[in-house]
Structures are given as C-alpha cells and as structure tokens.
C-alpha cells in the first residue's frame, strides 16, 4: 500500500498547478492508460472554454472508442451512426449557421465506413471542423485492422501483419481531403508531447476562427497511439508511433489558407 497520509496537506489552492477545465464533466474517462483521446478531449474542452463557445458548440460523436465523448464535455451533443458524423454535422450547421459545429471521429469511422460522408462533406466545403484521431487500429472492438493500419502491422484481423497485396494499403484520408477544393485548413498533428499538444491546440483554435469566418471545412488529423490495441506500454507506444506512424503520416500542415 502506498502511504497517502500527507495528501490532505498537499491539496491546497496555493499548490494548484493544473486543474480540470470547466467544460470537462465529472465523469471518469473510459480510455486506457496512456491513450491520446484524453489529451485530445482536454485541449478541445480548453478551446471551447477559452473561446466562450459552450453555448455555441454542438458536437457530433462517432462510433468507436470516443463514442461516449458526450459523457465528458459539457456541451450539446449528437451521437451519430458509424461513419455518418459529417452528414449529421452538415445538417446541424446548415440549420444553425451561427453555431460552432464539429465532429470527432476515429480512423475506422472517418476513413472506412464513413469515407463517402467525409469526402462529400469536405467537398461541399461544409463549414464544420472535423477532428480525426488516427491510431491505425479499431480500438473499441478490440484491435482489428483499420484503413490506416500500417503495412505489416499486426491486428486481430491481420494477425500475420497487414499484407497490402490482399488487404490494401493504409489510406491517407487527410491527404485526400486536402486535395478537395471545399476544404480550407487541413493539418496533421499529435498530442504525445507537450510541444505537440500546444501545436494541436493552436490548430484547433485556428479552425474555430475559420469557422466563425465561414471559410469551409477544416480537418485536423491527430496521429495517436493505442497502447492496448498495439499491445505496448504507453511509453513504448509513443516511441513506436514516432518511428512507424510519423514516417507514413508525417506531421504538419497539408493545406493552409493563403493569408
């Protein structure tokens, strides 16, 4: 047993260095230790708080690990069918053009079953923000192959490694979206180091402002880890991500507005 006897002396306002943002609810996150979702949620919540968007925001959560995203952020939410979030968000934004409308989707949701909805929402230039968590695997259902699973990467449905000859190649949806005239700001970031967290947060803030200016679709891919699905410790998974995911999915802006 760890001795917590001195903890009450430590929890004092003058010792506070970090706290839950107002937008995060009291619900305990369902994510595995070391998973990037929690960090991504947190910075999204911070932006909504800092930009005063609580009464403006309508989020659309996906099917995937973040299906219960609506438990964690204290804003209005719609839970979409698998892959359909961009269609749901399209209607919300068209009917409420003054609101801040965003989707939060994983790779299976956005790049497999929802490919059509993603591409067409972006191609219409729907004035929404799409946050795309790419961890190269289906986390919620227990580690099956995703459209973004790397060549040779093992998963429960590619137990001998993804054989691109029979299973196809990892899909770079963000690159596809960047090529569409309707998309306005497309970037690929991560949340595995404090520096990257800052960059991602900056990207979300930019997208919020572009939406206020009715500029078109913004898509922010967050390349992330899945310690459970990858069968690694959190630290190992981040290292593996840097060494394997980033070369295939290089970080940085894919499409930036001419300013």
């Amino acid at each position: 047993m760890v001795e917590f006897s001195g903890i009450k002396e430590i929890i004092k306002p003058e010792n506070l260095v970090y706290k839950k943002t107002n937008i995060m609810t009291e619900n305990i996150l369902s994510y595995c230790p070391g998973c990037g979702h929690g960090t991504a949620h947190r910075i999204l919540a911070e932006i909504i708080d800092e930009e005063g968007l609580q009464s403006e925001a309508i989020g659309v959560s996906p099917v995937g690990c973040s299906v219960f995203l609506y438990y964690y952020l204290d804003i209005d939410w719609q839970e979409a069918a698998h892959g359909r979030a961009p269609a749901v968000a399209t209607a919300i934004k068209r009917l409420f053009p003054e609101k801040f409308v965003f989707t939060y989707q994983g790779d299976g949701d956005l790049a497999a079953i929802g490919t059509a909805e993603t591409i067409h929402a972006c191609n219409r230039g729907e004035n929404i923000l799409i946050i795309f968590i790419n961890n190269g695997i289906y986390g919620m259902t227990g580690g099956q192959m995703a459209p973004t699973t790397l060549p040779g990467m093992k998963s429960s449905t590619s137990p001998y490694g993804r054989d691109v000859k029979t299973m196809g190649y990892p899909l770079k949806m963000t690159d596809i979206v960047a090529s569409l005239p309707g998309s306005y700001y497309v970037t690929r970031q991560s949340v595995h180091t404090p520096a990257n967290v800052k960059k991602t947060k900056k990207a979300i803030r930019k997208a919020v402002n572009y939406q206020k200016l009715n500029k078109g679709t913004c898509l922010i891919e967050i390349v992330s880890n899945c310690p459970s699905g990858w069968k690694m410790t959190p630290v190992q998974s981040n290292k593996w991500m840097e060494e394997n995911m980033f070369p295939y999915y290089p970080l940085g802006d894919l499409k930036t507005p001419e300013e």
């Binding site: 659309v60 719609q78 009917l95 059509a116």
Partner: protein
C-alpha cells in the same frame, strides 16, 4: 387566407406543401419515381423565401443522417426516396426511432425486390409498418390515396412526429407520385424560430446539456427505454388510427385497400354493386397504427374480406390478425409495377366468395 387551387403531380404537391408547412430542411437523393420532389424544391429555391434548406446528398445514407442531425436540432426536416433508396435509409431510420426524433420520410414505392421496376407497387408495407431497420420500433405510417392527401399529410406528419417524438413515413407509390390531380394548397405557415427543449441548440447556462443518442450499454436502462417506446406505440394505437369507409353500411363483402389500390377499389365497389354484389371498402389511412378494431367490428357483419394490395400479400397479415378468424380473408393484387384494375378486383371477389 383562401386555399390555392393547383393542378400538380403528387411529388410536386409534397414539395410545395413542405415549403408551405414551414419545413426547415429537406435532404434527398434522386431516384425514380420520386425525383420531382427534389427537382421542385431546387427550382422553388425556398432558401430565399422561407429559409428552408434543400440539399442533394451524396447518398440516401447521407441524406437520412442529415435528417437525423436536423431533427436532433428540433427542426422540421424531411427526406424522400423510393424503395431501393428507402432500404438504404433503414440504418438511419432505426437510429432516428432510437433517438426519438421527429421527421418525415416519404416513400414513393416502386416494385421490388432489388432494383425491381420503376413502376408503382405497394410491396414495402412490411418494411414500413413492422420496423424496417433493426430493433423494436415503429414508424407512424400514413398512406395517401390522392395528390391532395400527399399535400395534406405533410403537415399532419409533422404534427404527429413532434407530438410523439417519432419518425413518420408517408407511404405513397409511383402512381400517386406521378399523377396530376387538383390540389388545394394551404396558406404558408411561418417556420418556427424555436426548438423543443430536448434539442441540441448549444447549451445555455440555464439547462443541462442535451444529448441526442440511441446508445445505452446498460441493459436495464435500455430495457426501460424499450418499455417506454412500447407505451408510446400503444398510445399511438389508441389515439391516432385513421381510416375511411365507402358503402360499408350494408356491405356483405369488404375490400380492404390503401393508397392507389383504394382508389381502384372505390371503382370496384361501384362495379360490384352494379352486378348486385354488396361490396364495401375500408381504406386504412394510417397503416401504423392499423384500424384493427374497426376491421374486427366489420368482420362481425360481412361474409368475407379481400385485402387488395399491389404486392404478394403483406397487409393481409394485419387484416387476418384483426379479423381473428371470424370470416375468411383472401388477398388479391398485381405485382411487378402493374396496377390492379377495378374489373380484376371484382372478378377476384366473385371467384373467391361467390364462385365463378
């Protein structure tokens, strides 16, 4: 304001009635025989007048999920399609029913299965009235039998949809969608500027956050939700049954038919009576809820019933349940996009009940 008289196709009437009913959004995808709905709306361009959004989606799947999003905002939203497209929408319809969202889905039915034909049929009765998608749910199903009703039922659909927080299907067919008749259009209604208190509108500090979802992983809570839905369907069965009767007072044989078949059967009743056969017609206007009680009452007065449908016999199952063995019930109908003729119905009635 006086009602305006027009000559219109059923499909056009739905579109014009939607604009006048103050609908906030239409999301659709072209498919014969209902494409005039989106064409009419695009040409009318109501965004500039009422502010109604009209959007051609990339697929029926996207369109129904747009309806989900719009309905979740508490707005009056709708889609339309024909049979193969309605099959594609079933996923979204199940989610809409599960999230208890109000909306209107128009099905201008064509013959199936598969791509089938583009000609009129009534072969989507099971799909419309028994669920269609996965899970225990019901749509409220209205069956128009004229261009006038295609217009009138738009307003009625939204009234019922919002009253019960339940999706409503208008089950029409290619004949009513494509034909022109006189239609009296209602005056324009203002679009509502507000949304119900359950809708996602952006969370003000004065209320808890609103969540539109059909998900609950706790089986006990999910079962309670299922029970709540059942109670809602029972209330709908109790209060919303609509039907019309033609010459049932002294009828010895009852035709039961909806939509186009009911129009055909009106003529059949007339032809049969000219031949001395006392026929009557009961036309269900709501297919869910089904006029079970009334059909059961009539079963005590007639010698037999004929369920006339442009299908292999789907509604007959509800007629049989309603009659509960009191009198014989048969089916007659053409398929493949062929509309039954009044004479064929009379022949069938004679051969099944009278002999020869």
């Amino acid at each position: 304001m006086e009602k305006e008289l027009r000559l219109m196709k059923g499909n056009e009437a739905v579109a014009e009635a939607a604009i006048r009913a103050g609908v906030d959004g239409y999301f659709g995808y072209p498919i014969t025989p209902q494409t005039e709905i989106i064409e009419y709306l695009m040409e009318a361009n109501p965004a500039g007048t009422t502010g109604m959004i009209v959007l051609q989606a990339e697929s029926e799947v996207a369109a129904i999920n747009m309806v989900y999003g719009g309905a979740g905002c508490g707005k009056k939203v709708m889609t339309s399609s024909s049979s193969p497209g309605i099959s594609l929408k079933q996923e979204g319809i199940s989610y809409i029913a599960g999230a208890e969202l109000p909306c209107l889905i128009v099905n201008v039915v064509r013959g199936g299965p598969g791509l089938g034909t583009i000609q009129p049929a009534q072969s989507d009765y099971f799909q419309s009235t028994k669920g269609g998608g996965h899970g225990d749910y019901h749509l409220i199903v209205l069956a128009p039998a004229s261009v006038q009703e295609m217009a009138d039922f738009v307003d009625l659909s939204f009234e019922l949809a919002f009253k019960y927080r339940n999706p409503v299907m208008m089950l029409s067919d290619g004949a009513i969608g494509q034909m022109m008749e006189k239609v009296y259009l209602k005056p324009h209604k203002e679009r509502s500027k507000t949304s119900p208190d359950w809708a996602t509108t952006g969370k003000p500090t004065t209320r808890e956050r609103n969540i539109i979802t059909s998900l609950d992983l706790d089986s006990n809570r999910q079962e309670l939700f299922n029970i709540k839905l059942l109670a809602k369907y029972d209330e709908i069965r109790e209060k919303e049954v609509r039907f019309e009767e033609f010459q049932c007072e002294d009828a010895e044989y009852l035709l039961v038919a909806y939509g186009t078949s009911a129009r055909v059967c009106q003529k059949s009743v007339q032809l049969a009576r000219e031949q001395g056969i006392k026929a009557g017609l009961l036309r269900p206007i709501t297919l869910f809820p089904f006029p079970t009680k009334r059909i059961n009452e009539l079963a005590g007065k007639v010698k037999g019933m004929l369920s006339v449908e442009m299908s292999a016999g789907q509604m007959i199952e509800d007629v049989l349940l309603s009659v509960n063995g009191k009198v014989p019930v048969y089916h007659f109908g053409r398929m493949g996009g062929i509309v039954t003729t009044p004479e064929e119905v009379v022949e069938s009635l004679k051969s099944k009940f009278i002999g020869g």
